[in-house]
Point group: C2
């Protein structure tokens, strides 16, 4: 796996410095938005991650402009996922206990999903209702529109 680093602080031990871990929907100098495509992405179609390009543990380790930019992208991603996936609820989280490199989980939730109303990290509560995969191109387009509206 090739590291892309203009990114002076990347570490070879960090999986988020090594690979985005999904389909890249959007990328700029400070972050990437990735559509999660593993089992979690199938369970919560439209699940995206917004990943800082700088390898820092906490949001408050980033410069203020970088924090704001990443949060703008997180909320643009929320809007895009809501528009395309029409979930019952959105969940946003920056945890990073296992991989301490700032990344946000942007997760659409449905009342009949496997864990609702629990967090997706709690015990499952049921077999999830059927749900089709997210349409990557529709999400990419909606995200670009949401990001354009931020910068206007």
């Amino acid at each position: 796996m090739t590291n892309q680093r203009p990114d002076r602080s990347a570490t070879t031990a960090c999986p988020l410095c090594a690979t985005p871990g999904g389909d890249v929907l959007y990328e700029d100098d400070l972050c990437q938005v990735v559509l999660v495509t593993d089992q979690e992405g199938k369970a919560f179609p439209g699940f995206c991650r917004v990943i800082s390009k700088q390898h820092v543990r906490e949001m408050s380790d980033l410069p203020v402009a970088g924090q704001r930019h990443i949060l703008d992208v997180v909320l643009a991603t929320e809007r895009a996922v809501r528009q395309v996936q029409q979930p019952d609820k959105m969940n946003l989280a920056s945890l990073g206990n296992v991989v301490p490199h700032v990344h946000w989980h942007v997760v659409p939730r449905w009342e009949d999903d496997s864990h609702f109303p629990g967090p997706i990290w709690a015990s499952p509560q049921r077999v999830a209702g059927a749900r089709v995969h997210a349409d990557r191109e529709r999400l990419r387009k909606a995200l670009q529109e949401a990001l354009n509206s931020v910068s206007e």
Copy 2:
């Protein structure tokens, strides 16, 4: 359910419209910061919640200025909790599946806490190491300083 109390969007059925659910460390027109004092607050001393005063389900339901302000307060809270509690990691999350009224969990984590490295909503992994309660006045002061630095 009766809508429309002084806070035009509050609902009597919503516990976060009815009570802050902890010690209020800070309050302004748009949000409150509350020190969690129940069992979770004892397990993760310094655990704060940042609660929107407007009763909306999602961050992207708020006006952009309100979103930014709440995120500024969330990150000021993160800085204050890091300074006073010296955790190993911070967790930030806006879930709201049970109480769909925008509120952020700002949670200090330690490698020997009950759930680390899992999210606090997953199954516990151990009996937590001993940890003293958070000092409310130190947190309040650190939060005020962090908020002042945002507005400078």
